[in-house]
Subunit: 457 residues, 2 copies
Amino acid sequence: MSVSKKSLQIQKTYEALFALEDIREVFRQSLPTGFSPAEQEEFSKDLSRIKNIIAELESGQGKPSCNRIGKLDARTREEEFINIHPIQAAGRLTPEARKAVISYGDGYSTCDYCRKPFRLDKITRPPIEEFHQSLAKFLNMDQARVVPGARRGFQAVTQSLVEKGDSVIVSALAHYTEFLAVEVAGGVVKEVPLSENNIVTGEAVARKIEEVKKETGKLPKLIMIDHFDYQFANEHDVCGIGKVARDYGIPFLYNGAYTVGIMPVDGKKFGADFIVGSGHKSMAAAAPSGVLATTDEWAPRVFRTTQMVGDLTSRKFGVKEVENMGCTLMGATLLSMIASFPRVQERTARWDEEVKKSNYFLEQFQRIEGSRVLSQWPRKHTLTKVDTTGSFDVVAKTHKRRGFFFSDELKERGIIGEFAGATRTWKLNTYGLNWEQIKYISDAFIEIAKKYNLNVN
Amino acid sequence: MSVSKKSLQIQKTYEALFALEDIREVFRQSLPTGFSPAEQEEFSKDLSRIKNIIAELESGQGKPSCNRIGKLDARTREEEFINIHPIQAAGRLTPEARKAVISYGDGYSTCDYCRKPFRLDKITRPPIEEFHQSLAKFLNMDQARVVPGARRGFQAVTQSLVEKGDSVIVSALAHYTEFLAVEVAGGVVKEVPLSENNIVTGEAVARKIEEVKKETGKLPKLIMIDHFDYQFANEHDVCGIGKVARDYGIPFLYNGAYTVGIMPVDGKKFGADFIVGSGHKSMAAAAPSGVLATTDEWAPRVFRTTQMVGDLTSRKFGVKEVENMGCTLMGATLLSMIASFPRVQERTARWDEEVKKSNYFLEQFQRIEGSRVLSQWPRKHTLTKVDTTGSFDVVAKTHKRRGFFFSDELKERGIIGEFAGATRTWKLNTYGLNWEQIKYISDAFIEIAKKYNLNVN
């Protein structure tokens, strides 16, 4: 099978999916009693179109289609290429999530059977309430809510705990959304320095707390640290940090944007008061989605319900949670999380294998002289920062396409997701690639190196 | 075509969509060089399955499938029934949005070509930047951002403008999310009383402002009023309110959750400083999604960028907007909005026809003695509160299924979306139904009334 045959077949797959959506629309426009003659004709036309598409999908022969949706191109990157993009890997939908998104795409699709007390996480059909319980258990926490992205989980916590001028401990590798969450609550970030190998330790957190206490006369209100950071995906000492947090009586927010959904996360073990995870980054869910879990101790505060009373009507809106603004993910986002969840649970149990594949690839990668891994080595994660200043960047210096030569070479081999044009320090993620794909990209990197006469050990 | 044939065909449509997703997964697991023998076999098996499904879809004969996705049922309500649910009508996806959701479901699918300055609304491929400009223009405002639901738009505004103890003017029919947005910012709601026909007027707002001034010694910080409210969908005097807001120099947030995306909205005409709309309620987009638009005057405040500086690293995250927590809708939600937008623009221009259909249905409905429209009459909206205490509730009183008899009768006729069991006051929405469907539901209501010997005039 040639690459172009595969590419055509992918186009045809989309074409068939789209044609079926056209058929679905005929049903939507029709009466419960059945089709009108015009609708019957449209249905038949769409159907014969689909049959042709399926024939071309099977044979791999035919004219490539123009699968545009208005001004949008159909996105076929995940089918046509191996994608090593640093943040897209674990947010790719499972087939189950894609089916859920097809079924539950409509706006308020989760609300068909919403009954008292009228809150998303209490809905039993589809089994949203049950999912919330499973989520809490999955993280070994007491309660969980879904939120529109990890950042909204941070925000709910900072706005509940932090007042104007309060300090919040973050890592020197903190993600920008942690900065924003502190800022929006009126707080001030205090960064913990890294050890020489770019790790945040419990001791460093303790020292920073003492510094803040000395400087401001007050303890920080919150410690918010990533288990694995977004820059190097190094593992930070969350157990040690959790212990320090307990010693000082400061609540600890465990940022699991790069862990929840891909590796086992045990909130109690880490001593976490809050766990935040990202649906679209690590739980194979559509964006924006995420999870905020907490303990029974903190739930009344961060999940506090509305106290506002209408001055004229005396209206009160009972169980609606202030920081969540009531309901959060009313449709495809939540249902994609739910649909992916069984597979997400399975895959977290297979995390060691993912790390093994990551290390295998990077071992091959480091055979190319001048190529280095900047993240902690051996890897404990599939996201890695690499430095190719001494290898591919040397080629880029004299190549007429500059750094883009490397993107060109990768793309020609069916690999995408590197930061196009970057040949010095850049990030990649091997999460979810199978062994064949891992070996394929390993070979591809070596092959490109050899083509440009770089030394391969 | 019998109802059960249609139902089977709908099942088969989903079955085919799901089988194509299985094929898509084979591509995703394969190498750029092509299928392995095992993959080829899987592909062939899926393909022959699809061919059988298509044959059954065509003939309308075959065994109904079990289209479950784990614990989730496939949601076929929109295909199998006419849905008159009060809040689902205008959030149903267009076929274009459904195709976009299929293409862009994966987590960070919008981020393939994210380049400096690394912010969602600046991305040009897909044309997200252009969409933001179109959105602002569509609302006749200067700037727009997408947000995870209208509620998050309210919140961005209240948190930017309202401080602890400040008053915010809302309507006595304000939605609970407006209450929460005020509460989360530390403010206090002050409700404007309704006129005898349940309308909020400019004069009533002015009087309330004076009251608040007298009571608190300060002017309210914000006026937040729905153009059409969620209870009756009555039209409130937003032009008059906008004028009062200008007279007092108080910013005016126009809540367009029930207007933006279905009827023309002109921010300048209303004197709006902020316009908030809902993607999943009125813009045919997946949840959670929405829009927050403002003027060049207010943009620097509500869209202010981060000022937080790392105390250790001196890191700053330049253009990220604090209230939006950086990027907002990174995938299917935004792309569904964009894909629906051309059709959304068209349909807003056809709003009068939608109102005409709503009035037609309700005229028929009111022929059933004892049935009343509680919303303003004639209707200026497609969402309506009705009272059937004098008609269907009389039947319910002695029926063994109580109020559910009415749901049963509707469902038997292929109509859903009423609040199951409710036969006194309840809400319905005819938005987006075509004339055949409008006439069909009109006839169905009359038929049910006659069946139970209610008088029909």
